[in-house]
């Protein structure tokens, strides 16, 4: 067996949430470099929250997480609820070219080599002819392809995808999964929050089942059992307005060696 690769992301008793109410709590574990990890769980399990925490949109309520990267741009993030203004007057080409931010930043120009890269990225997602169109003219699925093209150019070591296949037809899903597998082959760490269990079984070697806490985490064929999925559904119970302070805070500290 090969030596275990270094972790790309380390969770140390991480709790994330909103307004003191945890959405997911006490996550302990490591995501290895180059891992292709599916995060599954019912609605409200905290999948998006976890990704937001990793990308830095949410500050931890407790615990901590460590990302093996030097720069913000090492992490690429495709959120579930995009804040993109689709009526903005910008072309598909320019939108995809934003993915080059890491290379060109705020001031460097887009030379011909980089323009070729943008065209290639568009071709990879099958939109080579739509570069000049405004983003507002695209369909939902086409726009999702545009966002994947942008992710391609971001060339990030860690890629976070939150429900990347919503509103996307089966042909597009197949194309996008091929892209994800390509990223995996290139040694990038990919985390995807998904709800299609068959997809996960077919393509993702490792799965984390989440239900406001870790239900199980491990090799997909071992952990993705009906029992675990049922357990995760039970665990996502109501949000309690008058919840007590979480008792596990003390325990976790005791468990950790000084």
């Amino acid at each position: 067996m090969s030596p275990r690769p270094e972790p790309a992301i380390t969770f140390s008793d991480l709790t994330l949430g909103y307004d003191r109410h945890p959405a997911v709590h006490h996550i302990i574990g490591k995501v290895a470099k180059g891992e292709l990890l599916a995060i599954v769980g019912p609605n409200g399990a905290g999948k998006s929250t976890l990704l937001k925490g990793i990308v830095g949109e949410l500050k931890p309520l407790g615990g901590s997480l460590k990302i093996d990267s030097f720069r913000k741009s090492d992490v690429a993030y495709l959120p579930q609820q995009i804040e993109i203004d689709r009526s903005f007057p910008i072309s598909v080409f320019d939108c995809v070219a934003m993915g080059l931010w890491r290379e060109i930043g705020a001031w460097r120009g887009l030379d011909s080599t980089r323009k070729t890269h943008v065209v290639q990225a568009l071709a990879t997602v099958g939109l080579q002819d739509l570069g000049v169109r405004p983003v507002g003219a695209l369909s939902g699925g086409q726009f999702q392809r545009v966002l994947f093209a942008r992710l391609l150019l971001q060339d990030a070591a860690i890629i976070l995808l939150d429900e990347p296949f919503r509103a996307v037809d089966t042909k597009t899903v197949a194309d996008l999964i091929a892209l994800i597998l390509r990223w995996h082959e290139e040694g990038r760490t990919v985390l995807a929050a998904l709800h299609d269990i068959d997809q996960v079984r077919a393509h993702f070697p490792v799965t984390l089942i989440l239900a406001r806490e870790v239900v199980t985490w491990g090799e997909t064929r071992k952990v993705l059992t009906p029992a675990n999925l049922a357990k995760s559904r039970q665990l996502v119970e109501a949000f309690d307005e008058h919840a007590e302070i979480c008792a596990r805070d003390g325990e976790a500290r005791e468990r950790q060696p000084a």
Binding site: G56, E57, I82, D85, P89, I90, S91, A106
Partner: protein
């Protein structure tokens, strides 16, 4: 015809000064307006122009009708309101428009209070409606410097600013430019309003910033095109407004803004990009 256009400017130096001042203003403010519009903050310019009032009033009380004191006061007040509103929007549940509304109302109340306690109403009108036909060297220099500065800064923050408008989350997650860009932009908004309020008055300053920008939306479909068209519309409104004011003997600030409004209405009707008239013509759709 040409004579009728050029004669007032050849004959009177105050008309030449007014023209130069308005053209300088038209170079700086409309691009800012384009970004305000794209960020759906069109009404923010209006709110900010009210926020400037107490600062200008305090400047007036301390130093009389001094351009420098009033501009500095207006700038300080506008900046304080913009930054406070921006900070609160970024750290609480309140959205930017709501927090800005709260601050500018307080600021406006304070401004009206100060002016009415100490000044006469004629002075207030002066502050509100500007003195475009009495621009002195100092005022021209101020307007020109602010326009120059604002164009330069805009060039520097152009790419992050476009990203911040189009996909703020992307900018936040890939770089540390988001907040600095936003606040630099707010400073530019305030600076251009201060510069406009000298020439056109606080209320009209917003007009020259926003009317050309929303007009441009009917003629261009990318950001640089919008900026270019907005500047040209502002130029045209300034020139025709000054002439209207000269020949019809009406106040200059409102004349310029009214003409910008005419350009806007005409563009809504016949603009090449989505003007209303095109919807009425029976035109066959294209192959693809």
């Amino acid at each position: 015809m040409i004579d009728a256009i050029t004669q007032p400017f050849i004959e009177f130096s105050f008309m030449r000064r007014a023209l130069v001042g308005c053209l300088a203003l038209s170079l700086g403010a409309p691009p800012i307006g384009v970004f305000l519009m794209l960020r759906r903050m069109s009404l923010m310019g209006d709110a900010m122009s009210h926020a400037i009032l107490p600062g200008a009033a305090i400047g007036y009380l301390l130093a009389g009708l001094s351009l420098f004191a009033m501009s500095l006061g207006g700038f300080a007040a506008g900046l304080a309101v913009a930054l406070a509103a921006g900070l609160i929007a970024r750290s609480t549940v309140l959205r930017e428009d709501a927090s800005l509304a709260a601050f500018y109302l307080v600021s406006l109340a304070l401004g009206v209070l100060i002016v009415s306690v100490r000044g006469s109403n004629i002075d207030l009108l002066h502050v509100l409606f500007g003195t475009v036909l009495a621009l002195d060297d100092q005022a021209l220099l101020l307007v020109a410097s602010i326009s120059t500065l604002s164009l330069l800064v805009l060039a520097v923050i152009y790419r992050p600013l476009v990203l911040e408008c189009f996909d703020p989350q992307f900018l936040r997650s890939t770089s540390d430019f988001s907040s600095p860009t936003h606040f630099t932009f707010l400073v530019l908004v305030v600076l251009n309003l201060v510069s406009g309020f000298q020439a056109l008055g606080t209320l009209m300053a917003v007009g020259i910033m926003l009317l050309p920008a929303v007009t441009a939306r009917f003629w261009a479909d990318d950001v640089s095109g919008l900026i270019l068209v907005a500047i040209l519309v502002a130029f045209a409104a300034s020139l025709t407004g000054l002439l209207l004011s000269y020949y019809a003997n009406v106040p200059t600030g409102p004349a310029i803004i009214l003409l910008a409004g005419v350009f806007y209405l005409v563009s809504v009707l016949v603009g090449a990009k989505g003007g209303l008239v095109w919807g009425l013509l029976p035109r066959k759709h294209l192959e693809a």
